[in-house]
Every structure is written in C-alpha cells, then in structure tokens.
C-alpha cells in the first residue's frame, strides 16, 4: 500500500482525520453492545501509601486494593469480589510491568495474597510476563501495569503491557505502536482480562521508560476498571495534566498516543472518550489531576 495511506502525520491530527488514517473499519464492537459506550474507572488514592523514602506502606496498599475490588466488582466482601474475578479452577495470570519503572512488587504480592485468601490455589496463580505461552496457559488475566509515559508510544501503560503476548514485540514498535490493541484481540488473549489495575503509586510523566526521577512523583494511587481503554484514557489524562502542571503550559505527549484511539476505534476494546467514562473516586483528592 502507498505510504501516504498508511503513515499518520501531524496534519492528520490537525485535520481530525487520524481515525481515517488509522484505517478504522470496525462498525460494531462487542463492548459497545454490552455497555452502550460507557465505562467506569475507579481512582483510589491514599497519601500514606508511600513513605518519606518512597517505600510502600503495605498495610495501606492492601486497604486500597480491598477498596478497589469491592468497588469495581460491586460485591459485599473482598473475598467475594476476588472470587467473582476468577474461580479456583482457573489459572490466573498476573501481568505486571516487569522492567524499567516496574510495578511495585508489594502490589503484585498483595494481589496474589488476596487471590489465595479468596480460595484460588497458589499453584493456580502465575506471573504472566514473558511470552505468548504465558497467556495461553492462563484462563484469566489481571493486568497490573505501572503508569508511565513512553518516548516511543506516548504512554506505555495498559495497552503496551501485553506486548510480549504477541510473540513478536518488534511488530508493535515505532510506526506500528498504534496496533498494540490488536494483541488484546488475539485468540490466546481475548476475553481473558478480568481486571485492569494500574500502579499509579509513583508514575513517570516524561522520558519513560528509562527512569528519570525529575518526572516521577508520589501520586499514591491505583486506577482500576474492566475496560482497558477507559483505564488507559484516565491514566493518560493524569500524565498529561502532570506535564501541564510541571511546565505551566500545555506540554502534549510526543509522539501522540495513537494506540489509545486505535484501541477504541479500530480494535473495539473500550472507550477513549473521557466524556463516556465515569470516574469514581475514593480517598485522597488533592492534586488528583483528573
């Protein structure tokens, strides 16, 4: 195909023709049929989640996690909430960010412990971070990405978290990062994600994924939902607003996070329109940025 039809340029953004340039052609999306294009994302924050040295307060984190699953699943008990995410017969894969500003291990352990307490056998819980076989081996996935900007994709959080499940990560680099949503529709991945839980304890708003402490701050939050695109969109808003606050003027992510729009409009994974997302908030509200 002629490059001018496959390459997205700055002019496409200015003209508002990005969707057309992305080749949007999916007329009806499964998630729309079930939800009517609306999603809920939960933001839980606690200013005591991190200590003076940025160490995690495990007790506070576990409280936040409990609040999160109760609210997202709408159950009366935490145990019930986790059991509604996965049953004991299932193999549950935990999918954290394992490299460069990784998911806090305390969060991974808290999720693992909660699943075990809810009756999921320990040997039915595995880390699913390596390759497509990890996803194939699991019947349920819990995405646990860390919130960060990414110099190649704009944002490198929810959608990018499954890149290794593709078996061909290089297919989704550079100009092809807008296709990251495609991975979520692969047969060994599709429909398995029960919860998207973003580690927003200490995000990175520029120069990611390589750590740069000038752009990291204690947000002390968890962002959760069942619509990966909505969770990514709220995460993106937080990053964008933090950048604006740092510079005192708009400081858009560059390159623009095409993968988020494409995940909505091309791959039908959820909504990237903030007006279609209800944000529920629990806990600390100062500087929430969203």
């Amino acid at each position: 195909m002629d490059e001018k039809h496959t390459t997205i340029t700055r002019r496409d953004f200015v003209r508002g023709s990005v969707a057309a340039a992305l080749g949007v052609s999916v007329p009806a999306k499964a998630w729309e049929q079930s939800t009517g294009r609306s999603s809920t994302v939960l933001l839980v924050r606690n200013e005591k989640a991190l200590g003076a040295g940025n160490e995690v307060n495990v007790q506070v984190l576990r409280q936040m996690l409990g609040q999160t699953v109760l609210h997202v699943m709408g159950t009366k008990s935490e145990k019930e909430a986790w059991r509604s995410l996965a049953n004991p017969e299932e193999i549950v894969g935990l999918v954290p960010t394992s490299h460069l500003n990784p998911t806090h291990r305390e969060l991974i352990e808290a999720v693992r412990s909660a699943l075990i307490e809810a009756g999921i056998p320990q040997n039915h819980i595995r880390m699913a971070t390596g390759a497509e076989d990890d996803a194939k081996a699991c019947s349920a996935l819990i995405a646990l990405p860390a919130l960060k900007a990414h110099w190649l994709t704009g944002i490198g959080t929810v959608l990018k978290n499954y890149i290794l499940f593709s078996g061909q990560p290089s297919r989704y680099h550079d100009a092809n990062n807008s296709k990251l949503g495609e991975i979520w529709n692969m047969p060994h991945v599709k429909g398995k994600t029960r919860l998207v839980l973003v580690d927003a304890l200490r995000p990175l708003c520029d120069k990611g994924p390589q750590p740069d402490p000038r752009y990291m701050w204690n947000y002390s939050g968890l962002i959760a939902g069942r619509d990966p695109v909505a969770v990514e969109t709220v995460s993106l808003k937080i990053i964008t607003e933090k950048r604006r606050a740092l510079r005192g003027e708009p400081w858009p992510l560059s390159p623009p996070p095409l993968c988020v729009l494409a995940a909505d409009q091309k791959y039908g994974l959820g909504t990237s329109n903030l007006s279609e997302i209800r944000i529920d908030r629990l806990g600390w509200s100062q500087d929430s940025l969203v």
């Binding site: 340029t9 700055r10 940025n54 460069l100 500003n101 990784p102 190649l152 520029d206």
Partner: protein, 381 residues
C-alpha cells in the same frame, strides 16, 4: 543495601574493562550470527523482524585507543564515595543486548550511534544504591545530542572552565545537569547518567563526586557545528529557545520532540544530522507567537533531494511532484492546516519550518538559516 526498585534486572554480560570484552564479544557476535541464520531459515519473517531489532548496530570495533579511554575512566571512578562502594567490574551492554537491558529505551541510544555502555553500581549498607551508566558514543556530537534531549535541571560545573572555542554556544552552556538525584553528563564522546535511587543531600554529594571523576582530564569539544547555522533570532522579533533545542539523527527522537509522522518521511538515520528548536516571540512583547525550525544535514546532495521528495510525497501529497496541476520545487512556502510551512534545499542541507504565522516569517527564517549554511560550507570548504 538493595535499591528501592529493580529497574534494570535483565543484564547479560559482566566482564572486566581490562580487555576481557574482546574475548567475550567475539563469541557473542558468532552466537548472534548463528542464531540469526537459524531463525531466518526456520521462522521466516518473524525471525527476520526479531533479528533486525537485535542488529541495530554491529558489535563495535574495540580499538586500542577506545579501550584505553574506557580504562582511564574506569580507573578514575572512586572505589568508595561517602557511604557507597563501587562494584569492581563494569557490566558491558552492547547494541546486541541493549534491549535486554532497557527494553523500549535502547532505540534512543542506537539512534545516536551508540558503541557501548559500561554500568557500575555503588552500594551502601544504609543507603539506596547509586547507578552509574557510561554511554560511549561514536562522536562528541552524539553524546551532546543525548544531553540536548532535555535541558532541564540545575547546571553543574564538573570540570575545568570552558576553552575559548566553546564560548558563545547556540545551545545552553551546560555540560552537566542535575535534578532529583539524576546527574546527566556530556563529556566528549561520552554521555553519562549517574542516578541515586533515593535523592538526598548526601547522595547528591556522592553523585557529583562520581561525575567529577568521570570527566576528569577529558576533552570538552564544542557543540555540533550544525547548530551554528541556526540564527539566534528571526524576523520580526522571534527568538530561538535554546532550552528546547535538540540535536539528533533518528526520526524517533524527532517524534519525541516534535511529532511529524509515524514514518521516517525525512529519511533520517545515522548518516544524517539534524537540529530542531522552536522560535518564540518572548512573553510580554505583545501577541505570543511561535514556529518550529528543523534543519537537516544529509550525507550528500542526492540524499537530501531524495529525502525532500519522500517528505513531500507523504506530508504534502496533494502538492507533491507528479501530482496533476502542481509541482512543488526545492524552495517553497505554503499554507497548511496549522499555519505556514516552508522548506528549501541547499546542497546537502534541507531547512524546514512549521507553524509559522505568516509566509513572510517562514521565508525570512529559511533565508537566514541558509545564509548560515553558506557560511558553514565556506568554513568547511
């Protein structure tokens, strides 16, 4: 004490600076050659894609002079600094394993003609670690480019005062910048990141001491000559924003500074060099306005001409050469959605300008920049 977060857990090599790299790097190359052949033959396109990623650059030739340079820096690193003790051996990261070390970030260094990375860690019984990354680049310009990605932070004077030839630079007059525990250094063909996992006054002192040791006795070449082409101001009262100036070679870096296209539509690469910076009318002087400049120096005239053809065909397809009724030349100013853009080809140089408030502003900048090109060409013969 362990660092607070395992940021770089996946390291492959650990060899000493003193010569062992040569012994280890040869089998590594052979290893990749064998793996490449097997994967290509067995996996078709999938194998090729993975291999292309790992073949971002050939294993660097380790000349005796380069080995000596690395040894000198390694020897100058203090074994102890404050409460911290250095690891005795460097971890060696090459273009073959940089993606194992920093998946998603290696492209940045490869894009600046990366040769090798030496990694050290300073640990302490009661403090978080300090990570030292010394990136060896092909040239001083490449190391400068890495620093120019972000001029934020506090300027730190680590070495001797500047030589006369380095006076009045176009870019900020900084060789080292510190902020929140991270020190970034440009020192000749070396770019370094020294990062305390937990910033404190104590760790700041240690980080700066390590920085001073890295640059001790090293040359301080001038900023890239290409920057001299940029005029400090442009008609009518635009001023260059030096703190937003970036020198680069890769379209990925350009996109991280100023998104132009998902593709490499300007044919950028290791054999080209480019600089981009915004020009603004300073706040307080009336209506705020700005535009974006982009100047590229290709390896030759034909490369520059081909790059312009590629750019026009993708970015301005409705007016590209060959389109009925239009035929843009090598010197044009035209109105597009976000303002006036302009370009002009001059020998191996391509000057572009975007988002200008008027055709006059675009034309004026290009004329000024190309005068700088003429001067540069006269100097270099």
């Amino acid at each position: 004490m362990l660092r607070r977060h395992g940021i770089y857990p996946n390291l492959v090599l650990q060899v000493s600076v003193e010569g062992e790299i040569i012994v280890r790097s040869v089998p590594l190359v052979l290893f990749w050659a064998v793996i490449s052949a097997v994967l290509i033959s067995c996996q078709g396109s999938r194998g090729k894609e993975e291999i292309m990623r790992h073949e971002a650059g050939p294993s660097p030739a380790i000349s005796p002079a380069f080995s000596r340079e690395r040894e000198t820096v390694a020897a100058s690193l203090p074994l102890r600094v404050g409460a911290w003790t250095r690891s005795d051996k460097a971890r060696i990261i090459t273009s073959q394993n940089i993606f194992d070390y920093m998946d998603g970030a290696g492209e940045l260094y490869i894009g600046y003609r990366f040769r090798l990375l030496d990694v050290y860690e300073y640990s302490s019984a009661d403090q978080d670690d300090i990570l030292v990354e010394i990136y060896w680049m092909d040239t001083s310009d490449d190391a400068f480019g890495l620093l120019s990605n972000d001029w934020g932070g506090d300027a730190i004077a680590l070495g001797a005062s500047e030589s006369e030839e380095n006076k009045n630079p176009i870019a900020p007059h900084h060789r080292a910048l510190y902020g929140a525990g991270l020190l970034r250094i440009w020192s000749d063909n070396l770019y370094a990141r020294v990062m305390a996992y937990r910033a404190s006054e104590t760790s700041r002192g240690a980080v700066l001491d390590i920085g001073r040791a890295i640059v001790a006795g090293r040359k301080d070449p001038s900023e890239p000559a290409l920057l001299r082409v940029l005029p400090p101001g442009s008609h009518p009262s635009f001023r260059l924003r030096p703190d937003r100036l970036c020198y680069f070679r890769s379209h990925l870096v350009l996109n991280s500074i100023y998104f132009l296209s998902t593709g490499n539509i300007l044919n950028l690469g290791p054999n080209a060099e480019a600089v981009t910076a915004p020009y603004e009318i300073p706040a307080g002087s009336g209506k705020r306005a700005s535009f974006r400049s982009l100047l590229i120096h290709y390896s030759g005239e034909s490369e520059a001409r081909e790059a312009l053809r590629h750019f026009l065909g993708t970015y301005v397809p409705e007016k590209a050469p060959g389109t009925p009724g239009t035929n843009l030349g090598t010197d044009e100013v035209l109105k597009i959605e976000d303002g006036w853009m302009g370009y002009q080809l001059k020998g191996a140089y391509l000057c572009l300008v975007f988002e200008c408030p008027s055709a006059e502003v675009a034309r004026s900048f290009i004329n000024q920049a190309l005068k700088g090109v003429s001067k540069a060409e006269a100097v270099h013969g």
